[in-house]
């Protein structure tokens, strides 16, 4: 079966971002960009399913600026077969992304659609669920175990309080949680090979999607600073401070 994986180019997880002085957004100039960690887990899962013989082809798609090609190439170096870049610099939101992905799914007809559970830049956690709604397909969100059998997939989900297992008809959407797998590193020969894999460049209009999000970011501010703390030298001092200064115990 065919698997489609959506990946997003985001600020590297280890970068401490700064808000621009004019409060228009965060400063992304000269900041290291990477594939969103949850998307990397989605690529890894698709590759593992291919190695098991469940999946025969992996198509990776990214929506974003021209530079998002880098993240598609990285996914190819991990094992994806071909890529689609939907190039746009417009401010689009989760709903528009889901609509573009719906267009791609209708053309490619994958049985499994894998996404990360959330992107670490906007922290929305919406696209997979929205795509499920638009396609009328089942969704296995926050997946920590994925088992495909016949025309169904069993997904163990990380929910508050523990784990829940659901069974979905294929085609289905799966969004990955951190514990689904440990993504591999790309080997140099595979990085070289990935350069030759096919990559189509499209635009949102190719999928009938126009316009930007109806959510307007009015301003972006740094979070409130915490008052500087103090180092206590002993347990006695700590207990004393908690009782008499902070009054929390």
């Amino acid at each position: 079966m065919k698997a489609l994986v959506a990946v997003k180019r985001v600020v590297d997880a280890n970068v401490k971002v700064r808000v621009k002085p004019d409060n228009s957004g965060v400063d992304l100039t000269n900041v290291k960009m990477s594939i969103n960690p949850f998307c990397e887990i989605a690529v890894e899962e698709a590759v593992r399913l291919k190695e098991k013989g469940t999946v025969s082809e992996i198509v990776v798609v990214s929506i974003g600026p021209k530079e998002a090609q880098e993240q598609i190439r990285s996914s190819m170096a991990l094992g994806a077969d071909r890529g689609i870049l939907v190039e746009t610099t417009d401010e689009i939101g989760a709903l528009e992304v889901a609509k573009i992905l719906k267009g791609i799914v209708e053309q490619e007809k994958p049985e499994l659609i894998l996404l990360g559970k959330q992107a670490i830049d906007d922290d929305s956690n919406q696209v997979g669920q929205m795509l499920g709604a638009l396609l009328g397909a089942g969704q296995g969100t926050f997946a920590s175990v994925v088992n495909v059998t016949g025309d169904k997939v069993q997904v163990t989900r990380e929910v508050d309080g523990g784990l829940q297992t659901v069974e979905l008809n294929l085609p289905a959407i799966i969004t990955t949680d951190l514990r689904l797998n440990e993504p591999r590193y790309a080997a140099l020969p595979n990085i070289m090979k990935a350069r030759k894999k096919p990559l189509d460049v499209k635009s949102p209009a190719d999928y009938g999607v126009s316009g930007t999000t109806k959510l307007k970011t009015v301003k972006v501010e740094p979070p409130a600073e915490r008052k500087a703390g103090v180092q206590v030298k002993s347990v006695d001092e700590l207990v004393e401070k908690l009782k008499n200064e902070a009054k929390v115990i």
Binding site: N14, K16, V17, V19, A94, L95, A98, K117, Q118, I120, D121, D122, D123, S124, Q126, G128, Q129, M130, G132, A133, G136, A137, G138, Q139, T141, F142, S144, E158, V159, D160, G161, G162, L163, Q164, T165, E167, D177, L178, R179, T213, K214, L215, K216, V218, K219, V220, E221, P222, P223, R226, G229, V230, Q231, V232, V235, L238, L242, A246, V248, I249
Partner: protein, 310 residues
């Protein structure tokens, strides 16, 4: 303005987080209706009817909603939600699973995890693991949003007297099925609602040591227990105890971080706590930058001493 709040529950008890969402709904202003979608959930509807500020409770009681399968519940929410100006749910795994699907069915954008209501159409929400706060304005006809419980003080669970109305609407998409669940049993307070949280990280060394060292402290303080991702990945404790960007967001009165270095992703889950205490052997640990009090020392000796002196 008319606001539909999706109740969080286990078919028996209304989850306290729903009270925080009702509080956010009151800040928006307008009539508040609570939707209880479940199976055998009459008791939950009765509890919801008593919540202060709620004017109506809708009970959709059907086997299709027993396990809150997103495919069925989202269809119901989208169906009933058309007549409302706002649809709100909690930022829990259930809310996050269901609400975006309902929003897409209504063809509207959604705002995740709001922490403040500026106006009925304008909200604040954290982005980049809480390192920036965005003010977002919705131009949609229906505002769909999840609410961060810890950012709103809960309304009273008693005092209201809303009418309970049964809805016959049954949405069964038939594309998903509940198989099983494993719920971690705990005698301790629930992590996201606890007044005090004691959390352990990689520094506690092992699962055995986590319990030997931290259980007595949590017991003494009546605290909930949490963990960093490192402690969960190392298998010390189950993943539902993870505090952070990808785990639970907590904001207790007192958060005690033991053997946690304080990665950005962990801080995203706890830096709104009122008082933060860090116990770490590393003087340079990033956690100290957000801690009100930090103590440099070996947790294996410091924590038992702390327990003895409390």
């Amino acid at each position: 303005m008319s606001i539909l709040v999706i109740a969080e529950h286990d078919n028996k008890t209304l989850n306290g987080a729903t009270l925080n969402v009702v509080a956010a709904a009151q800040k928006i202003g307008g009539d508040i209706t609570v939707l209880v979608a479940g199976s055998g959930a009459q008791a939950v509807a009765d509890q919801a009817a008593k919540v202060a500020g709620v004017s109506k409770v809708l009970l959709a009681d059907n086997a299709a909603y027993a396990h809150q399968l997103a495919e069925n519940v989202a269809a119901l929410v989208a169906d009933l939600g058309k007549g409302y100006s706002h649809i709100l749910a909690t930022t829990t795994t259930t809310g996050k699973n269901v609400l975006p699907r309902a929003a897409a069915l209504l063809d509207v954008s959604m705002i995740s995890d709001i922490i403040a209501v500026e106006s009925p159409k304008t909200f604040k929400r954290p982005i980049y693991a809480g390192n920036a706060i965005a003010t977002v304005q919705s131009d949609e006809a229906i505002v769909v949003a999840t609410v961060r419980g810890t950012a709103f003080d809960p309304v009273a669970a008693e005092g209201g007297s809303a009418a309970v109305e049964t809805v016959a609407d049954v949405q069964d998409a038939g594309i998903s099925k509940f198989i099983s669940e494993e719920i971690v049993k705990s005698e301790r307070p629930e992590l996201t609602a606890a007044r005090i949280v004691v959390s352990g990280g990689r520094g506690v060394g092992s699962g055995e040591n986590y319990h030997t060292v931290l259980d007595p402290l949590a017991d003494k303080l009546g605290a909930a227990q949490g963990a960093s991702r490192a402690a969960v990945d190392a298998g010390f404790v189950p993943n539902d105890m993870q505090v952070g960007q990808t785990g639970k967001i907590v904001a207790p009165d007192l958060y005690i971080a033991v053997g946690i270095s304080g990665a950005i992703q962990h801080l995203a889950g706890m830096k709104d706590s009122k008082v933060i205490v860090a116990i770490n052997k590393d003087e340079e640990a990033p956690i100290n930058a957000v801690a009100d009090y930090w103590l440099v020392g070996d947790l294996n000796t410091v924590v038992p001493e702390l327990v003895a002196k409390l």
